[in-house]
């Protein structure tokens, strides 16, 4: 028997509200299955289970808000008898899905919910989704649905009435404010930048995309993420987290990709191990991540796992970005928009070339500018040989 706990949702989130159970007692689950949806100030996320077995009991009800580490469900491992059959059997030591240091003290056996905020109105799934999109607070919506449930129409009516003065994404804004204030307060940033000749990468991409249907085309951003992930392999001091006064490097490379959201704010979910994917696989993973980032079905692991972040201004921004590190990470790589600029070719001739300004903000507690310069130069070098990405 083991306990399935509320997973970490990133350093800036210590609690979440359970808004949907995707399993019920008796259901069989396998490692990686989505079992519940939880809501934080950043939005709604799906959470995965990391063991296989049978759901024995659910310990947290809908609309309850609980701390990270709280037991959400009891899972019986394959081959284990049901609890009721052998109540006196000594429990096998359960593997904790979280480091012990992050867990709250064990809750009393009878009261599984450490913190319960006031329960909210019943809401239809379409109503909840629309409320998130519109930034409508559900407890301010008059319900007209069956059993007093808030419907899609109720949400839209409330949004129309509340529009003057209402700030969609206000919760997201406060999350960003807290995280960025902490970053600027605690992290001694240093900044480096370099202009990268993008002609080889853009020419290679155009030739490759010319032969492909629209659904299989690659975006330049995917090459940038892959280059960062590959360059990081030899630069461990930019990959990991600063926690409890020390740097903990990560042996995995998960690149957070900053995505701006239409309802306001931004989020940087992780692409898991992009350095290990070929570009087509990475593009599919990127499409999937972007669609879910904007549609509201990111996974908890994608929010908590990033070991570094990449932010790209896209093709219609400005030349340079001086990014701020997302704590507890220790580095962020920025790419400005592609601009056409005079470039001195190796033979000394001056040509108009597409260029991108790449920047690095890194934590001076962990690394120095010399290594940062080598890291940025390695990224620029990889982009000169796109066929090897």
């Amino acid at each position: 028997m083991s306990e399935f706990r509320m997973p970490s949702l990133g350093a800036d989130m210590d609690k979440a509200t359970l808004v949907q159970w995707l399993v019920k007692p008796g259901d069989t689950v396998a490692r990686g299955d989505l079992v519940a949806a939880v809501e934080t100030d950043k939005g709604v996320f799906d959470i995965e289970i990391f063991e296989s077995g049978t759901i024995e009991a659910l310990k947290v009800g809908l609309d309850e808000t609980v701390l990270v580490g709280t037991v959400l469900a009891i899972v019986r491992g394959a081959g284990e008898p049901a609890a009721a059959a052998v109540p006196e059997a000594p429990a096998a030591p359960a593997a904790s899905p979280l480091p012990a240091a992050t867990l709250p003290p064990p809750a009393p056996a009878i009261a599984p919910v450490p913190t319960t905020l006031q329960p909210r109105a019943k809401v239809t799934p379409a109503g909840r989704k629309r409320a998130l999109e519109l930034g409508v607070s559900l407890d301010k919506v008059s319900a007209t649905g069956a059993d007093g449930a808030v419907t899609l129409a109720d949400v839209e009516r409330a949004a129309a009435q509340a529009r003057p003065g209402r700030t969609p994404g206000a919760d997201m804004r406060s999350v960003i404010a807290a995280s960025m204030s902490r970053s600027k307060r605690e992290i001694p940033h240093y900044y480096l930048g370099t202009t990268v000749d993008m002609k080889p990468a853009i020419d290679w991409l155009a030739a490759r995309n010319r032969e492909r249907p629209i659904t299989e085309r690659l975006l330049l951003g995917v090459l940038l993420v892959k280059a960062v992930a590959l360059a990081l392999r030899d630069m461990p001091e930019f990959n990991g987290w600063w926690t409890e006064g020390a740097f903990r490097p990560s042996d995995r490379i998960h690149v957070g990709v900053a995505v701006s959201l239409r309802r306001g704010g931004l989020i940087a979910p992780a692409l898991h191990d992009p350095g290990g994917m070929d570009l087509d696989t990475l593009m599919r993973a990127f499409n999937d991540l972007m669609a879910r980032a904007r549609g509201g079905h990111l996974r908890a692991s994608e929010i908590a796992d990033a070991t570094i972040t990449v932010t790209s201004l896209g093709e219609r921004g400005v030349e340079s970005i001086y990014p701020i590190i997302h704590p507890p990470q220790v580095a962020i790589v920025g790419f400005g928009s592609t601009v056409t600029r005079p470039w001195v070719a190796p033979e000394g001739a001056i040509e108009a070339r597409p260029c991108v300004h790449a920047s690095l903000a890194a934590d001076h507690r962990v690394s120095d500018g010399h290594r940062g310069a080598l890291f940025l130069a390695a990224i620029a070098g990889l982009l000169q040989q796109p066929e090897h990405l």
Partner: protein, 85 residues
């Protein structure tokens, strides 16, 4: 297929990606992407939507034909099979 049908398919594809856009309020002859805030990922999704609706696969070399709504509709009219022009 008429130009009006093509224009409707284009606006549907845009609104599917950017639900906050008021399609009726878009100016037809000024820069489209100055009016709607979409990035290169969103733009690719608009083109994927057009591919589903109209069967037109727009090559990257023709992306600049989407500068305005009018120029995009003219371009698509020339690419849609069975179009009247």
């Amino acid at each position: 297929m008429t130009e009006e049908q093509i224009r409707a398919a284009l606006l549907e594809s845009i609104v599917a990606v950017a639900p906050e856009v008021d399609a009726a309020a878009l100016a037809a002859d000024t820069d489209l992407r100055d009016q709607i805030d979409i990035d290169s990922y969103d733009f690719l999704q608009v083109l994927v939507g057009l591919h589903e609706r109209l069967g037109v696969d727009v090559p990257e070399t023709d992306y600049q034909r989407f500068r305005t709504l009018d120029s995009a509709v003219r371009y698509l009219a020339g690419r849609v099979q069975g179009s009247s022009d």
